[in-house]
Structure formats: C-alpha cells, structure tokens
Amino acid sequence: MAAAAPEIAGSFKILFVGDSNVGKSSILLRFTDDVFLPPDETSATIGVDFKVKMHEVGGKRYKLLLWDTAGQERFRTLTSSYYRGVHGVVLVYDVSSRESFEHLDTWVEEVGTYCLDPDVVKMVVGNKIDKESERQVTRREGAEYARRLQALFLECSAKTRTGVQQAIEELASKIVDTPALWRKPASGAKGTVSIDESVASGFGGGCAC
C-alpha cells in the first residue's frame, strides 16, 4: 500500500505577464517540465492553460499553479478572470528588448487594475540573459525598477536554465512568508458551487410519492 502523500500546506496561483515573445511560456515550461522549445516551435505552447508543480518550502509541500497567458497578451486581451485569486505575478521582459522593459509599466497598471489584494507578490524577471551581446537593459536598471515596485527581481535564461528554478522558488517562498495573502479564505469560497459530474439524488429523481 502506497504511503499517503504528505498534506498540501497551500495552493498558489502564479501568473505570467509581459509582452509577446519575452519568454513567459518558456520560463513556465522550463520550470515545470525542464524543456525549452526552439523559437520556431513556440506555437507548440498552444494548449497550455496552466501547469501544476509541487514545491517544498521549509519541509512543507505547496501546490503551484502556473498560468500561461494563452497568447492573450499579444493584443492586451487577457480576461479579468485570469487575474482573479492570484497570489504571485511574474512580470517578464526580455533583456535584449528595451521596448519589452519599457512596456512593463502598462503591465503593472493592468495588474493593479485587476488584482485588488495589496499583498499579491510581484517579481520582475529579465529573461534571455543568454543573449548577453544583444543586451539592451542592464541588470541594474531591472533591479532598480523592481525596487520601486517593491517587487522581487531576478535575471534568467529559459534557454540555458540559468535562474529559472531560483526565480519561481523565491516567489513561492515570499508567498509562503505572506500568510495574509493565502490563509484568508478565498473570495466567495463559502458556499461556492464547483461544477462537476457529482450528481446527488435529484428532487425529481423518480421518487413518486
């Protein structure tokens, strides 16, 4: 008989925002599946709704639900439900694209519009540090931007693995350290009906009394 899996201490919704082609899906897939898709195959990320990965912090198990934008960042058409109930936001830019860094402001604004909880943990991530020769945003600029946002900061490369694991781990640890964020009952959770196939005996279920 298999040993019972250790109890899950918490479940965190983490999502990625940022311009198209900064590598949001690549970071997600590198972290969850340890794969990297070459640029011409990135359409293969179609079909990713969210990925689940178990993660340990301080001997306790946490469930990380990492949500992909599903391409809806391309024309800024993310649904408000994407942001709902979120615990951590990863704001991604491409260190070799000044434009993607400058656009972070509009993403921060959108996150502020939809994430009403002030405790939501933010992390600024500069991706593609493997393209060092094409770098347009210095590490210092990224760190300074994150500091002003009171966000965590890291640079990484989904292609070479550098920093990816560390980024998500830091974010998860910060969420764990902010119990006000995830210990409070999820909004509307009480009495909420989840649609599933469980079928209770119906009122009209054939009992002809």
């Binding site: 024309f75 989840s194 009209g204």
Partner: protein
C-alpha cells in the same frame, strides 16, 4: 497594432462580439482545430452580456453604448430625491466590488450550459453560487418563497393542505417518466396555464408561481402545455444536483464571466483575440462570387476590415449588433432596471430569483449580493426586466422593485434601460454568415447554448454538433 499584424490573414472562423453564444462557438471551433479570430469593438468582453462597475456603467451609457441595441438609459433619482450625480456618490464606496450585468443570467443545474462546462472542462474556471431562493411577488409585497424541495412543500405554512396535495401531484408527475409522458400526451395542444388549471387544479398564487417563477413563462407569451411542462421538468430535475436550488449564478458577473471562460479556452486552443477593434463592415470576398471558394484556393468567402487592415474568413459569426442595418430587425424590446440597494433586503449572503405578477403585467427579477461577488457586503443589486418599451413599463418595473425589496431597504441608485433584441432580418441566407440574436428576456443560459450549437453543427460542420 492588431490590424497591421493580422492584415491579409485567412481564418476559418472570424467572430464579431464576445457574447456567450460567440464565445462558445469560438472555443468549440478552436478545440476542433479551426483557426479562430475573435474580435470585439468594445475594450471588454461580454457584448450584450457585459458587466460593469457603477461608474463604468454610467460612462458606457453616455459613451460607447450601441444606441441601436440600447436606445435609452436613464439614471433615476433615489428615494431621498438626490440627483443622479450624488446617487452615484452613494455607491462610490466599494465601487470596484460591484458587478452590474447588462443582461443578468443564471444556469439550470442540470441544463445544457452546465453539461457543456463539464464536458469541455471550462467549468473549472467559473465559480458559481446557487440561486437559493425563488419568490413570487404580488403588488405591495412581501415576496413569498416558493418551496425548494418536497420537504419545503410539506413544511410550508403558506400553503393549505389542499394546495400541498396539488403541488405534490404536479411534482410527482413531472418527476416520473411514465406519468409525465401520459400527462403530456393527454394535454394535446392545450395552452399551458389552462392545462395546469384543468389537470392539477392550480389557481391563484399556485398557478402564477408555477407559470411565472418555475416555468418562467413571459407575460403574454403563448406556451403550449408540452413546452410549459418541459420547463417545469427542467427546473424540478435541476433541484438536488448541487443543492436544493434549480439555478446557479456565476460569480463576478453572470454572463460575461461565462463568456470570458470560453474565450480563454479558445485562446488556449490557439484562438486570437482582439478587443477595442475598429471592425467591419463585412463584405463578400471579391474573388468569390459563387460562395464555393475563390481562385487562390483558400476558401475565404468574406473580407473583414479590421483596425486599418483586413482579414479574410471562411465563416463569419456575429451578433446582430455588428450586422448592417438592412440585415437586422428589432425582434422585441425590453425594459430593464438595475437597482443598487442600501441594505441586503433578501439576505446578506444570498442570491434569489423573483417573479412579480400584477394586473399590469409580469416582471422577472434577480437579486444578487456579495454571495456572487457582485456587491460589497451590506449592499445588494436587484435586477428587473419585462417586455415592452420603457415609457410603458417604467412604472411596472418600479412597482416590482419596491414590492420585492420592501420597506426595509432603499435604492441608492436605479438605472433604467430600454434594450432591443436584435435579430437577423429575413433576407436571403448568405452561406458562411451566421448572425446571433442579442440577449433577450430569458433568465437561463440554455437558449444561448442551443444557438451556439446550431452554428457549430449545421453552420460550421463541426461533427460533435451535427
């Protein structure tokens, strides 16, 4: 931005408007491997089912509102006589916690929308609350609760023993396949109300409760016994699936949340989304006069101008508000009211439907609170709607609202709207062009699923729906 990037591309399906029907079509078409472009001229999702905070609603009424769809919006003074501006100030606190629906909706627990949400997995992304109570309201009130179970029927102090027996007989009949079939066969082509009177001896409140609050027959709507019985059966069968209630209401906005969930599923399956887009008018692709496919073999039948560029489409699905004036008719006109209450008159953590029945007509109502994350704690939103032009129906709506919320609560802000149900004009059918009616007076979302299925199967030829 979108116009330049997408210019010249060919899609299997281009959808205009992000209402529930198109969202379902988009998600199912993308899941079936079709290339999908889904566009809305507004900067938000939901089309005629859109959901706003109070200030955004007022902004929409004065600005982006489609006058053909919603010809009139009026902000009523509150009971204290304050002007609209200060009434709006009264709901400014917790402004972002309101979710005001243009076309409030609910879903039957055992209805086609819930089944579709389960089958597609899209249901994982929508949260619901049960619509715990259903009321019959007479002029002057107070609302009378309609029994939500057999136990309720027995326990009810409002029902006489004879009434209880009549009601149980009706419930037993619709709950049993053989009895039900026999009853419906015996009904022939009788009218529903007459059938309820003759067969079950229902009258007075009991008849109105079954007719309006359970079967949700519209005022003046002719309904045959069979169709009426089907509605009662659908209601009764829905009870007990997720609790005692027959209906579920989505959190954060009843229709737009469901539309958004299907839109996200479409995007996950590769669909492209563009909002706030300058779109149309759609024309036949110039090199395809016969509709059978054009010279370059891409099969595009339509040209859809989009944000300075244009895309080409094999099928176009649009809600009627996107169609040119000569292709659209006003199928009916509704009057709607959205009323923000200073107190949660029917319960602080509750959701309810109600039917107001008076000599002047009948009104459908939906009551929502923080239970569905659509009002701040301590407040409530009461929706009322009925067929007819606003000038004729404003008084009826006002009576329905006040009889339902009673003297214990007062409106902080009431918004009246005249809404047209736009539908395709009976002109020559254009192959590949599918026009969806804009939201009507129904409460349930099941007709939206049926409309989407008609487009998916016979329209787009997607096998699951053939």
């Amino acid at each position: 931005m979108a116009g330049r990037e997408l210019d010249g591309q060919v899609f299997d399906v281009v959808l205009l408007g992000t209402g529930v029907e198109q969202a379902i079509v988009a998600s199912e078409a993308a899941a079936a491997g079709r290339s999908v472009l889904h566009v809305d001229r507004s900067g938000w999702y939901g089309g005629g089912y859109a959901c706003f905070t109070p200030s955004r609603l007022v902004e929409w009424a004065g600005g982006a509102r489609d006058r053909r769809l919603v010809p009139r919006v009026e902000l009523a003074e509150n009971t204290a006589g304050a002007a609209a501006e200060s009434a709006l100030a009264g709901v400014r606190q917790g402004e972002r916690e309101y979710a005001l629906d243009l076309a409030p909706r609910a879903a039957l627990c055992r209805g086609s929308l819930v089944e579709l949400l389960i089958d597609t997995g899209v249901g994982d992304h929508v949260q619901f609350r049960g619509v715990e109570h259903n009321y019959l309201v007479r002029p002057g009130g107070p609302p009378q609760r309609i029994p939500a179970s057999k136990e309720d029927v027995f326990a009810s102090a409002a029902l006489s023993l004879v009434e209880k027996r009549k009601l149980m007989r009706l419930l037993a009949t619709v709950g049993d396949d053989a009895q039900y079939a026999a009853a419906v066969a015996a009904a022939g082509d009788a009218e529903f109300s007459q059938f309820l009177r003759d067969r079950f001896r229902l009258d007075g409140d009991l008849l109105d409760a079954v007719r309006y609050a359970v079967a949700r027959v519209g005022p003046g709507e002719p309904v045959a016994a069979r169709a009426g019985c089907e509605r009662v059966r659908a209601y009764v069968r829905s009870m007990g699936r997720y609790g005692r209630m027959a209906y579920l209401c989505a959190l954060y906005g009843s229709g737009s949340e469901i539309a958004q969930a299907f839109c996200r599923a479409c995007a996950v399956a590769g669909g492209t989304y563009v909002l706030a887009a300058d779109v149309g008018p759609v024309t036949r692709a110039p090199d395809d006069d016969d509709g059978s496919g054009d010279g370059d073999g891409d099969g595009a039948r339509f040209r859809v101008p989009l944000a300075g560029g244009a895309v080409r489409a094999r099928h176009v699905v649009m809600d009627a508000s996107y169609a040119p004036p000569d292709a659209v008719r006003v199928a009916s006109t509704l009057s709607r009211a959205i009323c923000i209450l200073d107190r949660p008159a029917l319960g602080d953590d509750a959701t309810a439907t109600a039917s107001y029945v008076a000599e002047q007509g009948a009104v459908s109502l939906l009551y929502t609170t923080r239970a569905t994350m659509s009002a701040p704690a301590g407040r409530a939103v009461l929706y009322a709607w009925t067929p007819g032009a606003l000038d004729e129906r404003r008084g009826l709506l006002a009576s329905a609202l006040s009889a339902t919320h009673g003297p214990a609560a007062a409106p902080l802000l009431t918004i009246y709207m005249e809404v047209n149900v736009l539908a395709a004009a009976p002109v020559e059918h254009v192959p590949g062009l599918h026009i969806v009616d804009t939201p009507d007076a129904t409460l349930g979302l099941e007709p939206a699923v049926a409309a989407a299925r008609r487009i998916l199967g016979p329209g787009l030829g997607i096998e699951a729906y053939m």
